[in-house]
């Protein structure tokens, strides 16, 4: 019998039992809480250590990754941009039509369009650049301005034609840069390499080293790409903090795609130190989290990247992260809305995003015949690795294993070695009964995706 007020404690053993029971139950509850926390906070692969791949050493030198300059915020003022446009428009009205003024105002509209995504600004830029070219076709910097507008509209072949037209009159690193960008987007890697090399010889600056690094990365020449990324950082100059963050975001993306998670983490952290919340770097950190098994964290980071940039790409990635975190209904619900947004954009004559639509449809395993038709058209227009990969996924979903494998082989032939590409190849081989080849592809996939969180298998089930 245990008494409180009357203080009739007759049995110490009962008291001790009581205390032990209390602590046991408390410990039990704390244990359950911790256990729940673990399930919510991360998955089993999260426990895996950061891994680097065996192969060429791509790991970045921390001294080169480090941004050497004081971090200052660039003083860009949209009000200035608006008043410049207004002043130029007024000057054109007052003093007559000058090709230089038209081109200047076209540049300003393009700057603003790329900042806020306003299609009216793209139209205005195109109109002004065309007006400039109508007065003097060549030599005229308006050719490059128009080429940039067309590149933004994903009309890469026309952009290349315009840049070449300018090069016929005057050689410039800018024109070669436009060609390299467009050829890379089209998947024409040898041409992209030639243009990037020439641009770099003419102007060995951060932008041109970075451009060549991207082409080398696409060709699978990893050691050279790593060298060029490092050179790009080494030659960077003061005053372009956003450019330096952009470089490191792309460098980090390269490293994480090659399985060097520690290197990627280092480079991305520096990008975010230079420009906090830089969308591309945030998205790559999210991708890193996804590959390391922290799916919920990845979903939140993709959301942050989307809010900061309004790039629909990050919503597609967020849906992947949600699915990996176990919220398939939520992921599909988000994909439905992404489909609505992208279709609305395409109906409005939007710029690109057809591959985004293909990806969403394949992820949802819906309207696969439409996805195949769209992807086939994209491959015809721009046979890039991404176009072929999305077409292969769509074909695999439809059960056309042979055609899917043809696309995968074509993508791998460019030198690309992405984990998801090998994953698809392994699955297709397995369906065909090619055990040893499937195992080989699987090993390659694991090599570039040491986290093995399961992300690369998303949306790859056959019919």
């Amino acid at each position: 019998m245990v008494m409180f007020k009357e203080v009739e404690i007759r049995s110490w053993s009962r008291l001790l039992a009581c205390a032990a029971g209390g602590f046991f139950l408390g410990a039990l509850i704390v244990g359950v809480v911790l256990l729940r926390g673990r399930t919510v906070g991360g998955n089993a692969p999260a426990a895996r250590a950061l891994t680097t791949l065996a192969g060429p050493d791509l790991s970045p030198d921390p001294a080169v990754v480090h941004y050497k300059f004081a971090i200052t915020q660039a003083a860009t003022d949209r009000a200035d941009m608006a008043s410049t446009i207004a002043a130029l428009e007024a000057r054109i009205k007052q003093f007559g039509k000058s090709p230089y003024d038209y081109n200047e105002v076209a540049e300003q509209y393009l700057r603003r369009a790329q900042e806020d995504g306003d299609k009216a600004d793209y139209d205005a830029a195109e109109k002004a650049a065309t007006a400039s070219l109508a007065i003097i076709r060549n030599p005229n910097a308006g050719l490059l301005t128009l080429a940039k507008v067309l590149s933004a509209r994903h009309d890469f072949r026309e952009a290349i034609a315009l840049a070449n037209e300018q090069l016929a009159q005057k050689k410039s690193a800018g024109a070669y840069g436009i060609i390299a960008t467009a050829e890379l987007a089209l998947g024409e890697l040898p041409q992209a390499m030639d243009a990037a090399n020439t641009a770099l010889v003419m102007k060995p600056d951060t932008g041109n080293y970075m451009m060549r690094a991207l082409v080398l990365e696409a060709q699978g020449r990893d050691a050279e790409a790593a060298f060029d990324f490092a050179r790009a950082a080494a030659v960077e100059s003061y005053g372009d903090a956003p450019g330096s963050a952009h470089l490191r975001a792309l460098w980090g993306r390269f490293l994480l795609r090659r399985g060097d998670y520690a290197g990627a983490q280092l480079v991305l952290a520096e990008a975010l130190r230079i420009v906090p919340e830089f969308p591309l770097a945030t998205a790559q950190e999210a991708e890193l989290a996804l590959r390391m098994g922290h799916a919920k964290e990845a979903a939140a980071e993709f959301e942050t990247a989307f809010v900061a940039s309004r790039q629909v790409r990050y919503l597609i990635d967020q849906a992947r992260a949600q699915e990996l975190a176990g919220d398939k209904p939520g992921a599909d619900s988000l994909r439905d809305q992404v489909e609505t947004i992208v279709r609305g954009e395409l109906d409005e004559g939007g710029l690109g995003h057809r591959l985004d639509l293909v990806e969403v449809l394949v992820d949802r395993n819906a309207k696969i015949s439409e996805a195949i038709a769209l992807a086939q058209d994209e491959v015809t227009r721009r046979p890039s690795v991404m176009s072929r990969f999305q077409l292969a996924r769509a074909l695999a979903r439809s059960g056309d294993t042979g055609a899917a494998m043809t696309q995968v082989q074509a993508a791998l032939a460019t030198g690309a070695h992405e984990a998801e590409l090998y994953e698809l190849a392994a699955r297709l081989e397995r369906q065909k009964g090619g055990g040893p080849r499937a195992a080989m592809y699987e090993r390659e996939a694991d090599r570039y995706d040491p986290g093995r969180s399961g992300w690369r298998a998303l949306g790859m089930d056959g019919k």
């Binding site: 019998m1 245990v2 008494m3 409180f4 007020k5 203080v7 404690i9 008291l15 009581c18 205390a19 139950l25 509850i29 704390v30 809480v33 915020q73 660039a74 860009t76 949209r78 009000a79 608006a82 393009l110 700057r111 369009a113 790329q114 900042e115 806020d116 995504g117 590149s151 933004a152 690193a173 024109a175 840069g177 436009i178 960008t181 467009a182 987007a185 932008g207 970075m210 372009d240 903090a241 956003p242 952009h246 792309l250 919340e277 959301e303 900061a308 309004r310 629909v312 919503l315 949600q322 919220d327 209904p329 939520g330 619900s333 988000l334 809305q337 947004i341 409005e348 710029l351 995003h353």
Partner: protein, 365 residues
């Protein structure tokens, strides 16, 4: 920061050697987090749209302007029409506005009279936005995450709360334990700091009963009476047979704490304790039922829910008793600490009970 992000765009625009990048889309983002009777929202829109809605030039939109016109922007956007949960209107609390680069973020919280089952919300500002504008809405509630689009053609939001798809016996047990406040997470706020759990009144009530002391037989009688009492009213309330309003139950729960603490202090009615505990159990049962109302019981086995939840409540109370009983016992060994247990602790609980009693009457008045 704003200038910095603008500069990022410039970099993309001017740099000819950067890879082809996608452009920003004309999309706003609304995040809704449902939490019982509250809905936290975060609206992110482009600075250009914010300026348009405020009838001003986007170039004038800086941090200072935004702070000065926060209320106006809230009224022009999400506060333009009432948010309702069921038939009842919810009340907005405080708006916080921030400018990040080109994104204007507005955060707010709506308090609804009861647990949100379906939230209805008109978003008329979508009609004032450009025709291409779409607002992506992501709502996160107990039932998972739902996404939808609001635009000119569909300027309304309907978000369903409710229970998770796979709610089971364990979830009900856990809800019961949590409701009592017998889990560490209930003592932590969102930032990881310490806070009082929602079930602090139940903890005080149990502590007051414990401090009143008595023989094992008396303690067993009190516990059994309280359990029977709250089980009855919990079932009646959950099955919607009797559901007294919170304006009556909440102050009565506070009063019960004060009464039991007063009795512990005086020690004059030990024979009637089990009757008092049973009576107050009936009242606390209605309070316990509130947590169960957050679940959509039409989708689950009600008997399983009641049993599981009741078991959770019992486990929670047992945890409190087992954690505090050894301390109380030890305190009785020393005359000084005994005084604390016999006089000061019940007196403090009495004050708390009376304070809550007055506070709850005032809140509901």
């Amino acid at each position: 920061m704003r200038a910095l992000v603008a500069a990022i765009a410039l970099l993309v625009a001017l740099g000819t050697t950067h890879p082809a990048a996608a452009h920003p889309m004309d999309v706003g983002y609304l995040r809704i987090d449902l939490d019982g009777s509250a809905a936290r929202i975060k609206l992110d829109i482009d600075v250009k749209l914010a300026a348009l809605l405020l009838g001003t030039d986007e170039h004038t939109m800086d941090d200072a302007t935004l702070r000065a016109r926060t209320a106006e922007l809230a009224t022009a956007t999400y506060r333009a029409a009432a948010v309702t949960s069921g038939e009842a209107a919810c009340t907005w609390t405080t708006t916080v506005a921030e400018l990040h680069g080109r994104t204007v973020s507005l955060a707010d919280r709506a308090e609804c009279p009861s647990a949100i089952r379906t939230l209805h919300w008109a978003v008329p500002f979508a009609a004032r936005a450009p025709s291409t504008f779409k607002l992506l809405v992501k709502a996160h509630g107990a039932g998972g995450e739902q996404a939808s689009i609001v635009d000119r053609d569909k300027p309304t939001i309907e978000v369903t709360g409710g229970a998770p798809a796979s709610v089971g016996f364990g979830d009900f047990v856990w809800t019961g334990v949590s409701h009592i406040g017998a889990v560490p997470s209930e003592w932590r706020d969102a930032d990881g700091g310490l806070k009082l759990p929602d079930g602090i009144d139940h903890i005080m009530f149990v502590l007051a009963l414990l401090l009143a002391g008595g023989s094992i037989r008396q303690l067993a009688g009190i516990t059994t009476g309280f359990t029977i009492g709250h089980s009855i009213t919990l079932a009646l309330s959950t099955l919607d047979v009797v559901r007294p309003p919170a304006i009556i139950i909440e102050p009565l729960i506070a009063l019960s704490i004060a009464v039991v603490a007063a009795e512990a202090l005086s020690g004059k009615l030990p024979k009637y304790r089990w009757k008092v505990a049973t009576f107050f159990g009936l009242i606390h049962g209605f309070g316990f039922a509130r947590a169960l109302q957050d679940f959509d019981l039409s989708k689950v086995n009600t008997v399983e829910a009641l049993f599981g939840y009741n078991l959770g409540v019992e486990l929670g109370q047992l945890t409190i008793i087992l954690l505090f009983a050894p301390l109380v016992l030890l305190a009785h060994r020393n005359p000084r600490t005994r005084f604390v247990v016999v006089k000061i602790a019940p007196a403090l609980i009495l004050v708390c009970g009376l304070y809550w009693f007055v506070q709850r009457i005032l809140v509901h008045a």
